[in-house]
C-alpha cells in the first residue's frame, strides 16, 4: 500500500511572531500576545495566549494573567490578539512554501500541511525537501520555521516540533511514548482545544497516559465510551489519519499604484488618475478570472514643508460583497476612490479653512495627494463564491445593495450608513455607524456588561444638538445635583427654549450618575434624569457642569 507522506511546516509561536512583525517589535524584546478578556471564573481578565521564546526564557507562560506575566518579566511587550492579522501575516509564508511544493493546506495560521511524496522525489530526499522549505521561508519572509515529515498528520506535526523526519511506517512507534496531551497540537479550531484537554485529563485519571496506551485500546470500545472525539483521537494515536492535504491554489493580492505628478490638489484630478488605476486593476482581475473580497485604497499625501516631509498615508478598506455578481466594475472602483478622496480632500480643506480662521482645532492642513494605490485583497477565483444556502434569497440582497450603491453615487459615499450595535452607555455611543460598504470594526464590544448603561427601551428620537433646559422643583427653584449625587428637590417642571412657560413633570426617574473614562482626558461625567411631561412625552435630561440639557425625546 502506498503511504501518504505528509510534511508539516510549523512556525513556532506564530501569533506572537506575527504580532511582533506587525508592531515592529525587535526579536530580542520579550513579547506576549494577550487574549480577549474572558468572562467569569478565576481567569477573568486578559490572559496570555502566546509567548515569544525570549519571554518564555524569562518565565512567562501561556495562560498567565497579565499582571502575573508582567511580574515575571517587567519589560514584556504586550500585544493584542488579532486572528485576522495572524492569518494575513501568514499568507507570505504560505506563498514562500508554495515555491517549493505545489498545493498546500493552511491548517491554521502558523501550521501548513503539504503533500511530501512527489516533492521529496523531486528534491532527492525528505531531508532535502525539509531543508528547501526552511530556506525558502527564511529567504522570502525572514521567519524561522521547522519542518517534519511522517505518515499521518499528528505524527508529522509532532515531528515538525522536533524538526525530525519519521521513516515510512514508523509513525506508530514514534507516537507511542508521547503523552496523550500532545493531541492538542493537532486541533485546528480554538474551540476544540478545551474539549481535547478535558478528554486527556479523563484518560490520565483512567490510566491512559501515552498515545501508545490509547492506541492499544480496541477501536469499538473507544468509540462506545468516548464518542466521536475518542474515535478521532484513537485514529490519530494509531497514526492512521492518513489523508492527502487539501490543496489550494493561492492567489496573491493584486495591486496597482501610480505616482501623481504634479500632485493632485483637487478631487477631479485625483479621480482621473484613479480611473486609470481602476481600469488597470479590473483588467488584471478579469484576465486572471479572479474576484476580490476587499478593496484597499491607499493615498499618500505630499508634505507641506518641502521634500523632506513625508506627508501622511490615508487608507481605507471597502468590502465588495457582491463578488457573486462578477466582482467590481471599473466604474464602481472609481466611484469608491472618488468618495474617499472627496472625504479626505474636502475634510482637509475644511480643516485648513478653520485653521486659517484661527480656530484652535488641530485638523491637518490640506495636502496634495502624490501617490495612489489600489489593492484587491482576499482574491479568489471568480465563480467560486458560494451564496448562502439558507435564509433569504441572495438576489434580494444584491438588489438592495445595488440600490444603495446608486444612492451612494448620488449623495456621496458617506451619506449611506449601515448600523451596528456596539458597547457603550448612552444611546448615541451604543450605535456604530459605518459608510455602506466600508469595513470598520466596532470600537467597543457590545457583549461586555457596561454597568451604568441607560435602561431599555432606548429613546426613539435623539436631538442632534442637546438643547439647554431648566429643571425646577415645586418651589420654582432650579434642581441641582450635589457632589454626593443627591438632587436638591424633586423635579416638578421643565422649561424648554421656545416653549411658552414651564411644562409640568408628571413622573420622573433617576438621577443616574455616569462617570465614563474619568482617568482619561476624554472622560465625561453626567447625571441622567428621565421625566414625563403632561402631554405624555418623555424626555431624557443630562446634567453636566451644573447645566441640564435635553438629550433625547421618548415619543
Amino acid at each position: 500500500m502506498a503511504t501518504t507522506r505528509t510534511a508539516v511546516l510549523w512556525v513556532p509561536d506564530w501569533p506572537v511572531v506575527a504580532a511582533m512583525a506587525a508592531a515592529g517589535v525587535d526579536a530580542h524584546v520579550p513579547a506576549a500576545v494577550l487574549g480577549a478578556r474572558s468572562r467569569g471564573g478565576q481567569t477573568a481578565g486578559h490572559s496570555v495566549v502566546a509567548v515569544s521564546a525570549v519571554a518564555r526564557a524569562a518565565g512567562v507562560r501561556r495562560g498567565m494573567r497579565r499582571r502575573q506575566a508582567q511580574e515575571r518579566c517587567p519589560e514584556l511587550a504586550l500585544l493584542p490578539a488579532d486572528d485576522g492579522r495572524d492569518a494575513r501575516e501568514f499568507e507570505p509564508v504560505a506563498l514562500a512554501a508554495e515555491t517549493v511544493v505545489a498545493g498546500i493546506e493552511v491548517a491554521r495560521p502558523g501550521l501548513l500541511l503539504l503533500p511530501a511524496d512527489g516533492a521529496a522525489r523531486y528534491h532527492g530526499s525528505e531531508h532535502a525537501l525539509a531543508r528547501a522549505l526552511v530556506e525558502a521561508v527564511a529567504e522570502r519572509t525572514g521567519y524561522e520555521c521547522a519542518v517534519g515529515v511522517a505518515d499521518g498528520i499528528l505524527a508529522a506535526i509532532l515531528a515538525a516540533r522536533a524538526d525530525a523526519v519519521v521513516p515510512p511506517g514508523g509513525s506508530r512507534a514514534f507516537l507511542a511514548p508521547r503523552p496523550a496531551a500532545e493531541l492538542v497540537h493537532a486541533v485546528t479550531d480554538p474551540g476544540g482545544v478545551a474539549a481535547v484537554r478535558e478528554a486527556v485529563d479523563l484518560w490520565w485519571r483512567l490510566g491512559v497516559r501515552t498515545l501508545g496506551d490509547l492506541a492499544a485500546l480496541p477501536t469499538p470500545v473507544v468509540q462506545a465510551r468516548f464518542g466521536d472525539l475518542g474515535a478521532w483521537a484513537h485514529r490519530l494515536a494509531r497514526g492512521e489519519d492518513e489523508r492527502p492535504p487539501a490543496r489550494r491554489r493561492i492567489e496573491a493580492d493584486l495591486a496597482v499604484a501610480a505616482d501623481l505628478d504634479p500632485p493632485a490638489l483637487r478631487v477631479d484630478v485625483a479621480t482621473f488618475a484613479a480611473r486609470r488605476l481602476a481600469e488597470e486593476l479590473h483588467e488584471m482581475l478579469a484576465r486572471r478570472g479572479l474576484a476580490c473580497g476587499r478593496l484597499r485604497i491607499t493615498a499618500r499625501t505630499g508634505g507641506l514643508d518641502g521634500p523632506t516631509d513625508d506627508g501622511a498615508t490615508l487608507e481605507r478598506v471597502w468590502r465588495t460583497d457582491d463578488a457573486a455578481t462578477g466582482g467590481l466594475s471599473a466604474a464602481r472602483i472609481t466611484d469608491r476612490v472618488r468618495w474617499q478622496l472627496e472625504g479626505w480632500l474636502t475634510g482637509a480643506a475644511l480643516g485648513a479653512r478653520r485653521a486659517a480662521r484661527g480656530a484652535d482645532d488641530a485638523a491637518p492642513a490640506v495636502a496634495p495627494i502624490v501617490h495612489l494605490a489600489l489593492a484587491a485583497q482576499e482574491v479568489v477565483p471568480a465563480g467560486t463564491h458560494q451564496p448562502a444556502l439558507w435564509g433569504a434569497g441572495a438576489g434580494q440582497d444584491v438588489r438592495a445593495r445595488r440600490a444603495l450603491g446608486r444612492v451612494q453615487g448620488l449623495l456621496g459615499g458617506d451619506a449611506v450608513l449601515t448600523v451596528r450595535v456596539q458597547g457603550g452607555r448612552d444611546p448615541r455611543d451604543r450605535v456604530h455607524l459605518v459608510p455602506f460598504g466600508e469595513d470598520v470594526a466596532p470600537a467597543r464590544d457590545a457583549a461586555l456588561p457596561w454597568p451604568g448603561a441607560l435602561p431599555s427601551p432606548a429613546p426613539p428620537t435623539l436631538l442632534p444638538e442637546p438643547a439647554p433646559v431648566r429643571v425646577l422643583d415645586a418651589a420654582d427653584r432650579d434642581v441641582v445635583v450635589g457632589a454626593r449625587l443627591g438632587t436638591s428637590g424633586e423635579p416638578a417642571a421643565v422649561v424648554r427654549d421656545g416653549a411658552d412657560g414651564p411644562e409640568r413633570v408628571v413622573a420622573w426617574a433617576g438621577p443616574w450618575p455616569v462617570a465614563e473614562r474619568w482617568w482619561a482626558p476624554d472622560g465625561r461625567r453626567r447625571v441622567y434624569l428621565q421625566v414625563v411631561l403632561e402631554d405624555g412625552q418623555g424626555l431624557l435630561l443630562a446634567a453636566a457642569g451644573g447645566a441640564w440639557r435635553a438629550e433625547a425625546v421618548y415619543d
Partner: protein
C-alpha cells in the same frame, strides 16, 4: 404487498364517496393556512394586511417608537429597511424594536436630492421610511407613489402624505413607568386613529407596550403589546358581526 395497499386505499376512498353522497356533503379543496408570520397579534390588528401595504404609501405620524415597533414586527427575513431624512432617529431604539440591523440603511441627510434618493431606493429596498428632513413636493410624492406601485415597495412617511392608503395618527403617546423614581420609562400607551378606505371616518385603537427587563445588561428586552379597540368601537364591532 404494494397491490393490496393500493386496493385498501381505493376501498377507503369508495367508502368515503359513499358516505359523502349519503349525507350530502361535498368535499372542498383543502385551504392551506396562511404562512404564519412573526407579527405579534395586536400589531397585526393595527395593520390590515398584517404588514405595511406594499406598492403604496402609509403614514405613521406622531410617534417614532410605534413606527419602529411596527417595522420590527413586520420586517420579514431578508427584507431591507431604509430610513431617509431622519437625522434625529435613535438607532438603538431601531435595534431594540427588533429590526434586523444587518439589513438597515440609514441615510440621515439627503439635502435637495431627496426625491432622487427615494426613487433609487425604491428599486431594491422593501421598506422605505421617509422622514421630515427629506423635502418632497406634492408632484414628487405622486411620482414616488407611482414608482412604489410599480416596484411593490412599501413607502412609509412620518409626515402626512395626501393619498396614503393607510394613515396611523398617534394622537397621544403616553410614557409611564418611573413610579416616583423607583423605576424608569418602561411603559407606553398609544392612542391611535387609523384611516384607510375600509375604516370610514377612522377607527380608534389603544396599544399598550410594556418593557420587561432588568437594568440594561445587554439582554434584549421582552416587549409585550396589548391592543384594545376603544369601547364604542368594540360595540360597533359587535353590531357588525351580529348583522353578518
Amino acid at each position: 404487498m404494494g397491490g393490496s395497499g393500493a386496493d385498501a386505499l381505493e376501498a377507503a376512498r369508495a367508502a368515503l364517496r359513499a358516505a359523502e353522497q349519503r349525507v350530502g356533503v361535498t368535499r372542498r379543496a383543502e385551504v392551506l393556512p396562511e404562512p404564519v408570520e412573526p407579527v405579534s397579534q395586536p400589531l397585526a390588528d393595527l395593520l390590515p394586511g398584517r404588514t405595511f401595504p406594499k406598492g403604496t404609501t402609509s403614514t405613521v405620524v406622531g410617534s417614532t417608537s410605534l413606527l419602529l415597533e411596527l417595522l420590527g414586527a413586520t420586517q420579514r427575513a431578508g427584507e431591507w429597511v431604509a430610513f431617509v431624512g431622519m437625522p434625529t432617529l435613535g438607532l438603538l431604539a431601531v435595534h431594540e424594536a427588533g429590526v434586523d440591523l444587518e439589513r438597515v440603511a440609514y441615510i440621515p441627510n439627503v439635502g435637495p436630492n431627496g426625491p432622487a434618493a427615494v426613487a433609487a431606493l425604491l428599486d431594491g429596498i422593501e421598506h422605505i421610511v421617509v422622514g421630515p428632513a427629506c423635502a418632497l413636493l406634492d408632484t414628487d410624492r405622486r411620482r414616488l407613489l407611482a414608482r412604489a406601485r410599480e416596484r411593490g415597495s412599501a413607502l412609509i412617511s412620518t409626515t402626512p402624505w395626501s393619498g396614503a392608503a393607510l394613515a396611523l395618527d398617534v394622537e397621544r403617546a403616553t410614557w409611564a413607568g418611573p413610579d416616583g423614581g423607583d423605576y424608569w420609562l418602561r411603559e407606553t400607551r398609544y392612542d391611535v386613529v387609523r384611516h384607510s378606505k375600509a375604516d370610514g371616518p377612522g377607527r380608534r385603537f389603544t396599544i399598550v407596550r410594556t418593557h420587561e427587563t432588568g437594568l440594561a445588561r445587554g439582554t434584549t428586552a421582552r416587549t409585550r403589546l396589548e391592543l384594545y379597540a376603544a369601547a364604542e368601537e368594540r360595540r360597533s364591532l359587535r353590531l357588525v358581526s351580529g348583522a353578518a
